[in-house]
């Protein structure tokens, strides 16, 4: 099966003015972008800066030629937006530069922003607990499939080989695992 990179289709559609396609991209990357910029700016500003980064990305999208992955390009815009935000706020930018690839790897203990709000982390902590509990409650074959996919980053073909089952079965197991986790977290994130 010749799989396609979903981002490529979405970017092509968004470049033609398809706002819904850009919405799908925003929904895909928003949490990672907010997390990324929150290493530069306060929690209070992180969402505004992330929002501004997406707006800038949309404006610049027609110039995106696909020389790099979309998310690399987007993260670079997000980091520049965060740095500009700091300059505008007359604050010193981060003392050390962070490479886009490295930025994703930083954990919460390496936050560079100086304003933390306990309220902000409460929902995330609750989500983490809920997701962990939902996964631990899964049947073994679903737990293995979703773990190999999400944490190990294996493709369906590789998971099929590891679990000694057809690709269709892997696809079904991953879906069922996600549906079960979704049931648990939906009440937490819906208004």
């Amino acid at each position: 099966m010749g799989n396609v990179i979903t981002d490529d289709i979405l970017v092509a559609r968004a470049q033609k003015g398809d706002m819904a396609a850009f919405d799908v991209l925003v929904r895909k990357y928003q949490y990672k972008v907010v997390n990324l910029v929150s290493r530069y700016v306060s929690d209070a500003d992180a969402q505004d800066v992330a929002q501004e980064a997406f707006i800038k990305a949309f404006r610049a999208l027609k110039g995106f030629r696909g020389n790099s992955a979309f998310y690399t390009w987007l993260y670079r815009i997000a980091i520049n937006t965060a740095k500009n935000h700091l300059v505008a706020r007359s604050r010193r930018p981060a003392s050390q530069d962070i490479d886009v690839a490295d930025a994703e790897l930083f954990g919460h203990t390496e936050q560079m922003s100086d304003v933390d709000t306990p309220e902000a982390s409460a929902l995330t902590d609750e989500l983490k607990r809920a997701v962990a509990q939902a996964i631990s409650a899964l049947p073994a074959e679903l737990k293995t499939a979703i773990t190999l996919r999400e944490l190990e980053g294996l493709s369906y073909e590789e998971i099929a080989e590891a679990m000694d089952c057809p690709i269709g079965t892997v696809r079904s197991r991953i879906f069922r695992a996600r549906a079960a986790i979704d049931e648990v977290i939906r009440p937490l994130v819906e208004d």
Binding site: V24, Q51, I55, A120, V131, I174, R178, D182
Partner: protein, 193 residues
């Protein structure tokens, strides 16, 4: 709704045709996009890539971009800033924004439905000379009833939104309308009047 294809799309495990079909469905259905958001949130949480703030900002981004395109088409220039109302918690104003947009739409639609009762009567009199005057009178009567029913439904719609507004810290529709179009004068329904 979450389904197997959407799950496979998340993993880039669909071929071109299936991925395009799935993306078409995402574009059409907000529930599918919401499921997409949640699945990406789960992924971010699992990979420890979710920040301390996990509020969905996609609605604000799209509102800002739509405002930009409106501004572009009307003035030829635009300066888009992150969309946020001062002094109101983000989730409250995001909900309020949706309500305000709904009320604005209803307010714009009101004149369409709020046809004076004399209009159907006048139409009736103009065609009463025809031999089918009785049938036309009946049509006009039904139209007047439909208009009255539409007015009732719209009034109920506004009252429902009034209740939602109260629950989100804005005291009335008037506050929403002021928010949507500052400086404009409004005459809105008030239960006290």
């Amino acid at each position: 709704m979450m389904d197997e294809k959407l799950s496979a799309l998340l993993d880039d495990e669909l071929d071109q045709e299936a991925a395009s079909d799935c993306l078409d469905r995402l574009s059409r259905h907000i529930s599918a996009r919401q499921a997409w958001s949640r699945q990406n949130l789960i992924r971010a949480v699992l990979k420890d890539q979710a920040g301390r703030e996990t509020v969905d900002i996609s609605a604000q981004v799209m509102v800002a971009l739509r405002n930009e395109s409106i501004s572009d088409s009307s003035t030829g220039r635009a300066r888009v800033l992150p969309f946020r109302l001062p002094g109101i918690p983000r989730q409250q104003w995001a909900t309020g924004l949706a309500v305000a947009a709904s009320i604005a739409a209803v307010t714009m639609l009101l004149p369409v439905f709020d046809t004076p009762d004399s209009v159907p009567a006048a139409s009736t009199s103009q065609v009463a000379q025809s031999t089918d005057s009785q049938a036309i009178r009946q049509v006009a009567l039904e139209r007047a009833r439909a208009n009255a029913e539409a007015r009732r439904e719209l009034q109920q719609y506004l009252l429902d939104h009034e209740a939602i507004a109260s629950g989100h810290g804005l005291s009335s529709q008037r506050a929403y309308m002021r928010m949507a179009s500052p400086g404009a004068a409004y005459v809105t329904y008030s239960p006290e009047q």
